[in-house]
C-alpha cells in the first residue's frame, strides 16, 4: 500500500513541478495518438459508412474482418510495421523507423478497424431510421453518406474517443517501431515500461496515474465540445 500512496504524491509532484521531460513525453503521447486517431477516423469513418450503406461483393467478408481486427494485438502490428519500415524492408528508404511518424502509422493501423466497425454500426442504425426520408428526397449515394455522417456526428465523437483510448494506452506497437528513444520517441506508455524495468514501481505508477488523467481530460474536452455543439445545433 505504501507504493500506492507514494505514487499519488509523486504524480502530483511531477505535475506541479512542471517537469520539462514529463511535458515533452506527454506532448509526444498526445501528438502521436491524436494524429493516429485523426488519420484512422478519416479512413475508418468513410469505410464504415460505406459498408453500412452500400451493398457490394465482399461486403460480408469486410464486415467480419473489421470486427475481428478490433482485437488486433499491438505487438503484432508493431512487428509488421517494423518489418516494413526497417532498412531491410520494402519502405526502408523513407528512413521512418524510430521516428514519431512510424508510431503514428502503427497506431493508425490499430485504430482504423475500431473506427470502421463502430462507425458502421452507428451509420447502419441511422440509415434504417432515415431510409424512407432519404429516398423521398431522392438523394444520391454520396449525399446519403455525407448526410448520415453529419447527422451521426455526436455518436461518432464517441467512436473517435474509443479509438483514441486504444491508441494512447498501447505500448506494444510504439516500443518496437519507436524504440523508446529519450527525447525522440519516448511516450507515456513506453516511459512506464522503462521505469517498471528499472524497478522504480512508484514512479512507473505515478506516470500511469498521469496518463489516466490525460485520458480523462481529452474525454472531458470532447464531451464538453459535444454538449456545446448540440446546443448550437438545436438552437
Amino acid at each position: 500500500m505504501q507504493d500506492f500512496a507514494e505514487s499519488f504524491s509523486l504524480a502530483f509532484q511531477l505535475i506541479f513541478s512542471a517537469d520539462a521531460d514529463l511535458a515533452e513525453i506527454v506532448l509526444l503521447s498526445l501528438k502521436v495518438s491524436l494524429s493516429a486517431t485523426m488519420c484512422a477516423c478519416m479512413i475508418g469513418m468513410s469505410l464504415g459508412a460505406a459498408i453500412a450503406i452500400f451493398r457490394f461483393p465482399g461486403r460480408g467478408v469486410l464486415l467480419v474482418l473489421t470486427n475481428a481486427l478490433m482485437g488486433l494485438p499491438p505487438v503484432v502490428v508493431g512487428l509488421a510495421i517494423y518489418m516494413l519500415l526497417s532498412n531491410a524492408g520494402p519502405f526502408g528508404t523513407f528512413q521512418l523507423l524510430y521516428s514519431p511518424t512510424a508510431m503514428i502509422i502503427a497506431q493508425t493501423v490499430l485504430v482504423t478497424p475500431i473506427a470502421t466497425a463502430l462507425t458502421r454500426q452507428v451509420i447502419a442504425d441511422l440509415h434504417t431510421e432515415y431510409d424512407e426520408q432519404l429516398r423521398s428526397l431522392a438523394l444520391g449515394p454520396f449525399a446519403t453518406l455525407t448526410t448520415l455522417l453529419w447527422d451521426g456526428r455526436f455518436s461518432l465523437i464517441t467512436v473517435a474517443l474509443a479509438g483514441f483510448g486504444r491508441a494512447v494506452a498501447e505500448v506494444g506497437a510504439v516500443i518496437i517501431v519507436g524504440g523508446n528513444i529519450n527525447h525522440v520517441t519516448r511516450v507515456m506508455t513506453t516511459a512506464i515500461a522503462l521505469e517498471t524495468s528499472k524497478g522504480d514501481l512508484a514512479l512507473a505508477l505515478a506516470l500511469g496515474l498521469i496518463l489516466i488523467g490525460i485520458s480523462i481530460s481529452v474525454n472531458a474536452a470532447l464531451m464538453a465540445l459535444k454538449g456545446t455543439a448540440r446546443r448550437f445545433a438545436y438552437e
Binding site: 498526445l30 531491410a88 524495468s197 528499472k198 524497478g199 522504480d200 514501481l201
Partner: protein
C-alpha cells in the same frame, strides 16, 4: 451552425499549432542510432556519458535499448549505426558474417546471482557459479531466466552447461523463463522469490530489490565484456559511417574511457573501461 463550424475550426487550428510546436523539439540532423542493451540504459550510464559526447561533437546519440539478441537482429537489418552490446561470441559472429566492420572491447563488469534473503538453496557466499546453479537445480529452488536470447541469457545458458544441468527440461516448474528484459525479470524474480542472474550494474541501480541480495559473485566465468561495433556500410549504405566511427573512437579513446570509469551510482563504480 456557423458558430459550431468556427468553434471547430478554431479548435482544430489550435491543435495543429500545438502539434507543430512540439515537432520542432526533436529536429536534429546530426544523429546516430545506437542499438544497445537494457543494462547500459537502465544503469544510467548513457544518461551520464552521452551528453558529454554530444556536447563535444554535436552528434546526438539515439539509444534503442533492447536485449542483445534483438539489438544484433536490428543491426543486421541496418536499423542502427553502431552496436554496443555484451555477448562476445555472438558479436564476433556478427562481424565474421560481414554485418559489422570490426569489434572493439569497451568496458566490462560482472554478473552476479541474486536471490531471496532466505536462500532456500543455501548458495549464499559461494564463488563457484556453476556449482551454485547445480545446487539451485538440485534443491528445485525457483530460478527466473531472461529466456530472451539476450547477452545475459546467453551467459546463463553457458553456466547451466558448465553446471551439467539441463534447465530447459524443467522449464515451467522451478526454471521459469520470463522472456523479457533484465528489469522485468528481476521484478518477476523478486515477486516469486526466485534466484536470477543479472549484471551488477542493473542490480545496483535496480530499485525494487525487496529482501533480495547478491548470493553468488566473484567467479571468473561471471566476467561480462561489452563491445562496440560499427554496422557495415557495405551491407547497408544508410549507415552513418563517419558519425558512427567518431562515436566509437571517442568511447574507446581516452576521454570516453575516463568518462566510463568516472560513472558511479551510490558510490559504486558500475563499469570498468578496458579498450585496448
Amino acid at each position: 451552425m456557423k458558430h459550431l463550424k468556427s468553434t471547430l475550426g478554431g479548435l482544430a487550428l489550435a491543435a495543429m499549432l500545438a502539434l507543430t510546436a512540439t515537432g520542432n523539439a526533436v529536429a536534429a540532423d546530426k544523429f546516430i542510432t545506437l542499438q544497445s542493451t537494457t543494462s547500459t540504459q537502465n544503469s544510467g550510464l548513457f544518461d551520464y556519458m552521452l551528453p558529454i559526447f554530444s556536447k563535444k561533437t554535436g552528434i546526438e546519440v539515439r539509444v534503442v535499448a533492447v536485449g542483445t539478441g534483438q539489438a544484433l537482429k536490428n543491426a543486421r537489418n541496418g536499423d542502427g549505426d553502431v552496436l554496443f552490446v555484451h555477448a562476445k561470441p555472438a558479436e564476433e559472429k556478427f562481424v565474421a558474417e560481414g554485418f559489422g566492420v570490426s569489434r572493439q572491447d569497451v568496458m566490462f563488469n560482472d554478473f552476479v546471482i541474486v536471490g531471496p534473503a532466505a536462500d532456500p538453496a543455501k548458495v549464499g557466499g559461494m564463488k563457484d557459479a556453476p556449482a551454485a546453479l547445480k545446487m539451485i537445480a538440485d534443491a528445485k529452488a525457483a530460478f527466473a531466466s531472461r529466456g530472451d536470447d539476450s547477452g545475459t541469457h546467453k551467459k546463463e545458458k553457458r553456466l547451466w552447461k558448465a553446471a551439467g544441468v539441463d534447465a530447459d527440461a524443467s522449464s515451467g516448474s522451478w526454471y521459469r523463463e520470463t522472456g523479457s528484459g533484465m528489469g522485468a525479470t528481476l521484478n518477476a524474480a523478486v515477486g516469486m522469490g526466485a534466484y536470477a542472474l543479472t549484471d551488477r550494474a542493473t542490480w545496483i541501480s535496480f530499485k525494487n530489490k525487496g529482501n533480495f541480495k547478491i548470493q553468488v559473485e566473484g567467479d571468473k566465468v561471471l566476467f561480462n565484456q561489452y563491445g562496440v561495433i560499427l554496422v557495415n556500410p557495405a551491407k547497408h549504405p544508410v549507415v552513418k559511417k563517419e558519425l558512427g566511427q567518431s562515436f566509437i573512437d571517442w568511447v574507446t579513446g581516452d576521454e570516453g574511457q575516463k568518462t566510463i570509469n568516472s560513472y558511479k551510482l551510490n558510490g559504486q563504480q558500475l563499469f570498468f573501461a578496458n579498450a585496448s
